[in-house]
């Protein structure tokens, strides 16, 4: 079978609507009789709501309703739970105080932005004006924002039910004593204390939700800018509002970016749904940007002390880590999984480290919830390993490339050689780690670079190169495995393929595209597998009413899991089609071959086209006995393992010695994401990930003051990469197929964001080291000009 589309840079079919301004995002919709919600939020991080006076607001013309937490509590609603349960080391149950939709009188708000009341009005102007008339009296308490401070004796408590603000603690790896011993016996130990700062995901579309209750049918529709409509429906119905699922439709229409922050079930989704029932009118809430900063879940926020031991030949002997992870004020949907199973399990990296131990403490603080942000846990693991690698090379006076090559796991394909069993639970699928680094180094022109660097070291513009190699666990994941680890949902995916009578194909996937191009990539797979034109395939996603079920898009899982589900259905279609073809061709099924859109009797020119089969399936006048009409299959695909993309990222920076300003000069990325269906889209995913990873290294980071105020909560203060902060990226790839899914794909969405951050920071340090500042071990991210300048002048 020849592939017409797979592996080709097919232009995206979804682009037409976006480039002509006809995309349909949640806030673009205005439903008949729609009302507008304005949510009143706490200006304090920790305070008791003493009283709320809504009388003036209620009396305002055009105000439809005002609700407070007392109203919500009266209807028996507890709040939003986490979607994952990770228990304490000693077996105690995770502390999981629910996140109330609105904080009622007498209760305490737990972060700036915690919702206290909602004003619903005929227009957004009236809602905003009336919101100012709601009088709320608070008693303000001390707050705690840092996870290390939070778990100290006497710190202000976020939840009374969580002593010392510990949600849970956790460990993974080899027995601690073994690791301690290996560290103690090491020839050299590189140790580093560092912070993986808090990131604000900042999709450019702010979140929006419209709840629409229709009393005529007693049904609800929720339109929401989400990455996974089915999970929202499941959580909202079963755990929050107690509505039967078949009465609820959740639609995630066009979504303007997510990067993790739109995976989670947010209180506002349940709130507008609930409010809509109360007033029997649609209720729309759209976040403003300054509101998004204090309500969207943030990412990262680890404080870590790590030690890596080496023998006298430079082989890694052990890795010992103590990390405090900040989970914010409430447990968001994936929050418990991110610092644990998505992070601790990646600490093997690409290295043969024989002894690893991570001790993790997960803390509540008076800040926004912290949850998955592009990469989710894996960037934290990679940052830790790769910073230690470059620092160790510097300390031991060896080349950072050589040190990595020496310690890499040898190549294995997962078929002829077994998968690689790590010290931290995972079994890698396949990889040739040496190759990506060798290619990257060749693209860099390493020797010439070091010459140029030596020359630059005499000037005011220092040059530095930083290396990073990474592996990630994607395509989550086997349901049984994640279930054992505490997930409260399965992590399979659903793919339905409906062949229409004329041979056109409608595909329904539980994956959700918010920029990833599923409508194109999935169609490429379907078109090639069925041998039909791309235009004859349409991909549907994002609507619980049309898609049987789904787990949404995150963790670079869509193609590996969602695509595989579609392939399973395609196999069923082709198999059933063969029965019909055999009947039509008067041949045995076993003697048929399906290729290029037709069934052919082996060794003859007798064939029947797929379109004919489709028509016959729906007009079964002359049809195999006992076979059901129709050609429509649905499959649930539950993967056998995670997939493991990996790669090598190299950054070249210039540091202005006078100002400390870092300019990114080059960025090289050699990634292996398994087989590639659409190289254009894969490159685009890598580009975007790189920009976000580079943003973390150079520009971004949420800053909370000690009172819990986010002091850079607007685009005037929170720095993100703009076009002129970045160079053109230099990309290459290797393709090592994933051995355990039918497409051989591994996932590309997060890769760029995982490897790039340490590459850039390593490059900044390398520049400083070359300029005579060899004593500098770390610079806090983002490496702002002032921080770099201070490091040079410390």
């Amino acid at each position: 079978m020849s592939n017409k589309y797979i592996g080709k840079a097919v232009k995206r079919v979804e682009d037409k609507r976006f480039i002509t301004g006809k995309g349909k995002y949640t806030d673009d919709m205005i439903l008949p009789r729609q009302t507008y919600a304005y949510i009143i939020r706490s200006p304090y991080a920790h305070a008791q709501v003493k009283s709320i006076d809504i009388s003036q607001a209620l009396a305002t013309e055009g105000v439809v309703a005002v609700f407070t937490g007392d109203d919500i509590a009266q209807s028996g609603i507890n709040g939003v739970p986490a979607g994952w349960q990770v228990n304490f080391k000693n077996g105690d149950i995770m502390k999981e105080p629910p996140h109330p939709l609105l904080v009622g009188t007498g209760s305490t708000v737990k972060h700036v932005g915690d919702a206290v009341a909602v004003v619903i009005a005929e227009s957004k102007e009236i809602a905003a004006d009336a919101a100012e008339l709601v009088e709320i009296d608070y008693e303000v308490f001390d707050a705690v924002v840092n996870p290390v401070e939070a778990v100290k004796e006497g710190a202000p408590l976020v939840h009374e039910s969580a002593p010392n603000n510990i949600a849970f603690d956790w460990e993974i790896g080899n027995p601690k004593a073994e690791v301690d011993e290996a560290i103690a016996n090491s020839h050299h130990v590189t140790s580093l204390e560092f912070v993986n700062q808090r990131m604000v995901p900042n999709p450019i579309e702010p979140r929006s939700a419209i709840g629409h209750y229709e009393s005529s049918s007693d049904r609800y529709t929720l339109y929401t800018s989400t990455q996974n409509p089915h999970l929202i429906r499941l959580l909202m119905c079963a755990f929050v509002l107690g509505i039967p699922e078949h009465k609820v439709r959740v639609v995630g229409p066009d979504v303007g970016g997510g990067f993790g922050s739109k995976i989670f079930h947010y209180t506002e989704e349940a709130l507008v749904t609930w409010c809509s029932k109360q007033i029997e009118r649609p209720v729309k809430w759209t976040s403003e940007r300054s509101e998004a900063f204090i309500t969207d879940a943030h990412g990262r926020d680890h404080v870590t002390h790590a030690e890596m031991g080496f023998d006298k030949d430079g082989n890694v002997t052990a890795l010992r880590i103590k990390t405090f992870a900040n989970l914010g004020a409430y447990l968001s949907t994936f929050a418990p999984a991110v610092p644990t199973y998505l992070h601790g399990t990646l600490l093997q990296g690409l290295y043969t480290t024989p002894k690893i131990h991570l001790d993790m403490t997960c803390a509540f603080t008076h800040t926004n919830a912290v949850d998955a942000y592009r990469g989710a846990g894996r960037p934290e693991a990679t940052y830790l390993l790769e910073r230690l690698m470059d620092l160790a090379a510097h300390e031991m006076g060896v080349d950072p490339v050589e040190l990595r090559l020496k310690n890499f796991i040898p190549p294995f394909d997962g078929v002829n050689q077994p998968g690689y069993q790590t010290q931290v639970a995972l079994q890698y699928d396949s990889g040739n780690y040496h190759e990506v680094l060798r290619r990257g180094v060749a693209m860099l022109g390493y020797e010439e670079f070091r010459k140029a660097q030596a020359e630059a070291a005499q000037s005011n513009k220092l040059l530095g190169v930083g290396f990073s190699t990474y592996i990630e666990a994607c395509g989550i994941a086997p349901s049984a495995v994640v279930g054992a680890l505490g997930a409260r949902a399965g992590l399979y995916e659903v793919g339905q393929v409906r062949v229409q009578p004329t041979g056109k194909v409608s595909v329904y996937t539980g994956a959700h595209s918010h920029g990833q191009g599923h409508e194109t990539t999935f169609a490429q797979v379907v078109a090639d597998k069925l041998g039909i034109p791309l235009e004859d395939v349409e991909i549907h996603h994002g609507d619980t009413e049309t898609v049987a079920f789904g787990m949404g898009t995150y963790g670079s899982r869509s193609l590996a899991v969602g695509g595989s589900a579609i392939v399973k259905s395609l196999e069923k279609i082709i198999e059933k089609g063969a029965k019909i073809a055999a009947h039509k061709l008067e041949a045995n099924e076993e003697d048929l071959t399906f290729a290029d859109g037709k069934y052919t009797v082996n060794g003859t020119d007798k064939s029947v086209a797929f379109g004919d089969i489709a028509l016959t399936a729906y007009v079964p006048h002359n049809y195999p006995a006992g076979l059901e009409p129709g050609l429509d299959f649905s499959s649930f695909y539950d993967p056998a393992n995670f997939t493991y993309p990996y790669g090598c990222h190299i950054a070249v920076v210039e540091v202005d010695k006078e100002t400390g300003k870092v300019s990114l000069k080059r960025f090289i990325a050699v990634d292996d994401v398994g087989n590639v269906i659409n190289p254009m889209i894969v490159d685009g995913q890598i580009h975007g990930g790189l920009a976000q990873g580079i943003g973390q290294a150079l520009l971004e980071g949420a800053i909370f003051d000690e009172n819990g105020q986010l002091i850079n909560g607007s685009y005037m203060d929170y720095c993100m990469p703009r076009a002129d902060d970045l160079p053109m990226f230099e990309l290459d790839r290797t393709e090592t197929p994933c051995p355990h899914n039918p497409l051989g794909v591994k996932g590309a969405g997060e890769a760029g964001c995982i490897g790039s951050t340490p590459a850039v920071v390593n490059a900044v340090l390398d520049a400083l080291w070359s300029g005579g500042f060899g004593h500098v071990k770390d610079i806090l991210m983002p490496t702002t000009p002032e921080r770099v300048w201070r490091a040079m002048n410390s």
Binding site: A128, T659, M716, P785
Partner: protein
């Protein structure tokens, strides 16, 4: 993103604008709106009336008369950046104008609006100080001309009275051979200056150096100027920058770092004009 309610009045002449401003309600002059409208959207301000002056013909145009460059207050940054008159007579003003904000801001924001607003980190105040500009103000009591040096009085503060309108900025065209520059260290999020240093050096040696972003308001740095004018080395003159002024600090640039940058940027600017 919803401002409080206000009245909107579009003035067709400066006189009409002044009359509206005098009628007693809390009124704000609306130029390009790129300082005011963001504040209104966040409800950080709630004027009762906005007086739009951008369609007053007399506030437009860029001309040269008798050795003076005259810029109407309602000209946008983009119009100034691309004006042949400005580029040919005082190119650093064009460079400075094109370093403001971003393309869209430059297309809409006006010089009059910017200097009336007197943001400590805005570029125009420093540029006009170094250019020795005069600001023409029309008010209830007639027209007056104020030197840039006297115009900016403090943090977001100017000599403007509540019913004053800036009509023109008048800049003497310096003698041939004068060199000028604007060097800006930009805050990557806001695009405002962390440090902006405008420098003009005339053939006689007379040097004017002004800073944006460093202190509570833009200022001429007389210590640097006198050192430079009297023939001190660039290094030595630059080392005197930003001494004795109160220095701003924020999460992006602390007080001592900003002071250090002022010296670096003073040197870079002086190198350009020497």
């Amino acid at each position: 993103m919803i401002p409080h309610s206000f009245d909107y009045k579009r003035a067709s002449s400066v006189e009409e604008a002044i009359e509206i401003l005098q009628n007693g309600s809390y009124a704000k002059v609306l130029g390009g709106g790129h300082s005011l409208v963001p504040a209104l959207k966040l409800r950080l301000n709630a004027p009762e009336t906005l007086v739009d002056v951008t369609r007053i013909e007399s506030l437009k145009g860029i001309t040269i008369e008798e050795g003076t460059l005259i810029i109407g207050a309602a000209n946008t940054h983009h119009e100034i950046a691309t004006s042949a008159e400005v580029q040919n007579s005082l190119s650093f003003l064009a460079d400075g104008a094109s370093a403001i904000g971003d393309v869209q801001v430059r297309n809409k924001g006006t010089i009059g609006g910017s200097i009336a607003h007197a943001d400590p980190s805005a570029d125009w105040p420093a540029l006009l100080l170094a250019a020795n500009a005069q600001i023409v103000i029309q008010g209830a009591d007639g027209t007056k001309t104020v030197a840039a040096q006297d115009f900016f009085t403090g943090f977001f503060s100017t000599v403007l009275e509540e019913s004053d309108i800036i009509t023109q900025i008048r800049i003497p065209i310096p003698p041939a051979g004068t060199k000028s520059t604007y060097q800006k260290f930009v805050q990557p999020a806001s695009r405002f200056a962390i440090v902006g240093c405008a420098a003009v050096k005339e053939p006689s040696g007379t040097t004017r150096v002004a800073f944006a972003g460093v202190s509570d308001y833009a200022f001429r740095d007389e210590a640097v100027e006198s050192a430079s004018s009297s023939g001190a080395s660039v290094e030595e003159a630059a080392s005197k920058a930003a001494e004795g002024v109160s220095i701003m600090s924020d999460h992006y640039a602390s007080e001592d770092y900003r002071k250090h940058l002022a010296k670096v940027y003073a040197r870079r600017a002086l190198v350009e004009v020497s």
